[in-house]
Amino acid sequence: MTDSMPTQLPEPASGPRPALHIEGLHKSFGSLEVLRGIDLEVAEHEVVCLIGSSGSGKSTLLRCINLLEPIDAGRIFVEGDEITARGVDVNRIRRRIGIVFQAFNLFPHMSVLDNVTLGPRKARGRKREEAESAATALLERFGLVDKRREFPDRLSGGQQQRVAIVRALAMQPDILLLDEVTSALDPELVAEVLDVIRELAAGGMTMVIATHEMGFARDIANRVCFLDAGRILEQGRPAEIFSAPREARTRQFLQRVIDAGRL
């Protein structure tokens, strides 16, 4: 990964190495086993959506990939480098993997511009002017440049979440993880955030997206994974999963979603 301008997305794949490779991932919280052996491979520029009911392990999986949760067993590779090996610098790894949270988690005591430049300046050691011009370009691209001096509590939820996405992009990550990024938004604000994600997908960003927005998953995903009780029970192209799911649990889940009017 070169340190190109953040307005550019990652270069096309140079080799066959997957962007993300997970094998045998287990994670428990106390006696509760949340992930029971996850195997997943994500190719460069691929968009993978994780679907499944609350508690199926989607968010935990994303937090494990970003090393925000220590894992109990298994291995995770990013661009062929094992990030779960002993002695790796977790701070270096996290710079390569962006994550956007359900509740935005913007820093309330900082302006939009400072939120976006904190990572580049402190974790990557960029100079302030350099980081700010790159951040301004990104904010411009996502229609937020006039908000750069505002504080997060002056923005709408949709704007806050877009800033959070820009903050993650400013680190020029190899992979972007999105953890139910529209779940905390008022319905009328969901579209502007989904549009941003669509644009990123069109630009070739490798993404793993946990979502309850089934219509969106069907549109955007190259592949959909259905998580059930800590396992990937079924995966495939969106058309397969949504139209002809093989597993009874998947059918049940989709039926509930349809009944709730969410597909």
Binding site: R63, N66, L68, N91, R92, R94, R95, G98, I99, F101, A103, N105, L106, F107, P108, H109, L118, G119, K122, A123, R124, D153, R167, A168, M171
Partner: protein, 257 residues
């Protein structure tokens, strides 16, 4: 209006009953001598400079030491257990022992060791003792502030590749400090008043000066000078604290809307 009337009545009753007490004339002479009050004022005010120096230095040191203690107590994982333990013992110890005793023990104990090169002037020990006692209190205030910042803020900071120290420095502590400014100011009011305890070491600060003036004049009025000076210094700080608390409450209400 009702508040004003009832206040006047209550204070009126108190003033009348005190001034009609059998020994009021004697007390008035011993405590409320206008001439002595005026004569003592400049001397007491000058001695107050020592108290100001004591609390300015001790407050600055307390702010730093208290924050360090709070961070040490919050370090996670078994590796840091000894550090957490030591910090906890420190806080427990200095909150338990009366400040006067700490001042006494340090001020007479350390010079008594006779180590070459350590100051024989007692002023630094007064500063040190006040700092030790108040940093224990202040570290608890900071710790409450740090714990009040939601863990997702640290997750967001760490997810950008910031290390633990950077996450504290740029994300957690700035938010925590903002939230605890009112209780910090409250502790500083206590610290300012406790500077008079350093008088037991023989430092000529405001209380000591008033004692000297009292002995010279056989009159307690100089202590009223002292009381007035502390009131003048403390009340603006107390109002500032109230104002900050009120402002925060207003902000939270605006956010919850």
């Amino acid at each position: 209006m009702i508040a004003l009337v009832s206040t006047i009545i209550v204070f009126g009753v108190i003033v009348i009953s005190v001034t009609n007490a059998p020994n009021w004339p004697a007390v008035q002479k011993a405590f409320f001598d206008g001439a002595i009050f005026a004569r003592s004022w400049p001397k007491v005010l000058e001695a107050f400079g020592t108290n100001v120096a004591l609390f300015m230095i001790a407050e600055a040191l307390t702010l730093v030491l208290g924050l360090i203690l709070a961070i040490l107590r919050g370090l996670p994982g078994p590796v840091f257990f000894p550090v957490r333990l030591l910090a906890t013992i420190y806080v427990d110890l200095f909150r338990a022992v009366p400040g006067l005793l700490v001042i006494y023990l340090l001020g007479f104990g350390i010079p008594g060791l006779g180590i070459a090169g350590i100051p024989s002037d007692v002023f630094p020990y007064g500063v040190l003792a006040l700092t030790l006692v108040y940093s224990a209190y202040v570290s608890e205030v900071y710790r409450a502030g740090i714990e009040s910042v939601h863990w997702s803020q640290e997750a967001a900071a760490r997810s950008l590749g910031l290390n633990r120290f950077q996450a504290l420095r740029y994300v957690i502590v700035p938010q925590a400090v903002r939230r605890v400014i009112p209780p910090l100011l409250n502790d500083f009011i206590g610290l300012q008043k406790d500077t008079v305890l350093v008088s037991v070491l023989g430092v000529v600060e405001i209380f000591r000066e008033a004692q000297i003036l009292k002995s010279a004049a056989f009159n307690f009025t100089p202590f009223l000078d002292v009381a007035l000076i502390f009131i003048i210094v403390t009340i603006p700080l107390a109002r500032l604290t109230d104002w900050l608390v009120g402002r925060d409450r207003g902000r939270q209400a605006a956010r919850a809307r």
